[in-house]
Amino acid sequence: MLSSQSDRAGFLPLAQLPSLLAQLRERGYQCLGPTVEQGAIVMREIEPPEDLPRGIQAEQTPGRYRLTSDPLNRYFAWSSGPQAIKPHTFAPKESLWRVERDETGSLQFAAVHPPVVRQAIIGVRACDLAALALQDAHFLREGRRDAHYAQRRDHLFLIAVQCAQPASTCFCASTGDGPTPTAGYDLALAELADGFVAVAGSDQGQAVLDDLNLAWATSQQIEAARQQGASAAAAQTRSLPGRHLRDSLMSRLEHPRWDEVAARCLACGNCTAVCPTCFCHAEADTPALDGAASEHERIWDSCFGEAHGHLHGFNVRADIRGRYRQWLTHKLATWHDQFGRSGCVGCGRCIAWCPVGIDLTEEVAALTEGQP
């Protein structure tokens, strides 16, 4: 954003934010955006009159997430909530197919197709878009598209918002994924005091922008947005090494740090639940009470769960050391083999939502200490 297309940037005054949502609703989209629920920012349907929360910041430190007030009274001062796009493309629980059994015992299998829902999400971050690109690489793999994921993905409209106030847990600048969105959105906004610099990233996004009849953003506004992104990047205190970590981590599989982190880790799976790139899921069957049918569902799963490595009569990863090592080495090392890049987009959710505050950047630093 604000680079290749900045010459075509419009300016959306604050008062016109509701008309953007109205435009999307007119086009048949269900509008999801930030709402405050149980003390966190979560993406929920925004009903008219458009009422986005304003002046809310999300203070995040290891093991801690608290909403506080933003002195600048911005709409998008919160850096991230526990979830953004993932539950809307890769459903936490859904039926894949069902089977019916008649009196003769014969089985009739049928695929279950999710209903078509056109969703627009306002307020996704650069890290979320980078994570979505990785989920796309997994679920829309050439020749093996996941029909359920694809159906939701094909009907998604994304309005990204530049992160101006990163949390202390954020490190997207070091992974190259933020804080300013550069790709993967339909519309991208940068929030200034009196409105938003807006650019389109797709034809649908351009059509929405055209219908809003915005004035061009001034060069001062564009420069203010650029500087805001640069300051947000500079404000980040955590980081991952910029180099490829695969060989560093895979050569330290017996490092004593794995035992040390395993002693703190509760194996609760919070990190994998909030991670926007984790894709593991279990498949399970739920028979109807009358015995005449059964649903085959998939449900988000975690490599920290005991069942994840279960194999007829023994567990491949029986201890927490093995599970933490599996998670970290997959995310930062073997992800490169599978998808050509690391599986971490620097959102810091795993740090904030870990009940004991385990910090992945700290673990990586300890594991690779002394390596070039």
Binding site: V99, G105, L107, M250, A282, A307, L311
Partner: protein
């Protein structure tokens, strides 16, 4: 069964149990036929590939196909009754229905053998994925050199297909070496570790392909023994086992380093997995 069905995550095809054979107290074989005649006629698999078998209302398990690839009327699976699904499958009778999707994964590199010797090393129920290789070789005997079948079991009574081993041992250019860690009265084979038999194996290390299946510790020892005999690493293959739920490289349970065992395996070249096999808990 068209290509898109085979590759997708489901739903399965309905199949009927034609026969159920008790192989040992806990091991049984199900012979299945897809209810859709066209799907059955179109079903093809390569030795080493697996199917997902679905027990109504309970769930799915990955089971390698052990029947002969040229046997077009049935699909055979040998299963040990251990978990919720397999214990339920063990209770099925002829005429009962299951679901089946597959085949999945990469099978054994039979095209690479090219007239050389075939060494099969199996432990425990690991014999099931390679029995289809034995059938494959015996049906195309002129294309292969010597066939060496090395099988290890923990207890003598665990050995299934005992008559078949006796029969194979009598065939020309075929050697059968069986070991049980714990013997039994009238046990005709070796008592001890299966790796103690490798010095007796009669094959040309310069022109052979070895295929292993079984517990990872056994395969590591077997690999050491075969490589010590001079077999090049590039000619050594193994079949891996991991938790598999989707079978199409999506659910994530079977990941072994960067590989999805269900999709990139279950058969791997030794060199592909050797570095990680050394680390327990991967």
């Amino acid at each position: 069964m068209n290509a898109s069905n085979r590759l997708d995550a489901g739903p399965p095809h309905a199949a009927t149990v034609l026969a159920r054979i008790q192989e040992s107290p806990t091991i049984f074989t199900l012979q299945l036929r897809l209810d859709d005649a066209a799907a059955q006629a179109a079903y093809r698999f390569a030795p080493g590939q697996f199917n997902m078998l679905y027990l109504y209302g309970v769930g799915e398990v990955p089971i390698s196909v052990m029947s002969d690839p040229e046997e077009r009327d049935l699909i055979g699976h040998t299963i040990r009754a251990l978990g919720r699904v397999t214990r339920g499958l063990a209770a099925l009778k002829p005429g009962d229905r299951v679901g089946l999707r597959g085949p999945f994964g990469r099978g054994w590199p039979l095209q690479e053998v090219g007239g050389c010797d075939v060494v099969l090393v199996t432990g425990g129920l690991g014999c099931a994925p390679v029995v289809s290789v034995i059938h494959y070789v015996l049906r195309r005997r002129e294309r292969f050199g010597k066939l060496v079948i090395i099988q290890g079991v923990k207890h003598a009574e665990d050995l299934i297909w005992r008559e078949q081993y006796d029969r194979w041992a009598k065939l020309p250019d075929t050697q059968v070496l069986v070991a049980a860690s714990e013997g039994a009265p009238l046990w005709p084979w070796h008592v001890g570790r299966v790796t103690e038999l490798f010095s007796l194996a009669n094959f040309d290390p310069g022109c052979a392909v070895a295929m292993m299946c079984g517990p990872e510790g056994m395969m590591r020892s077997a690999a050491d023994a075969l490589l010590a005999r001079g077999l090049p690493e590039s000619r050594l293959y193994l079949s891996m086992e991991r938790n598999m739920q989707c079978a199409v490289g999506r659910c994530g349970h079977c990941q072994f380093g960067g590989a999805f065992v269900c999709r990139d395996g279950p058969v791997f070249n030794w060199g592909e997995v050797k570095p990680l096999l050394a680390h327990k808990g991967f």
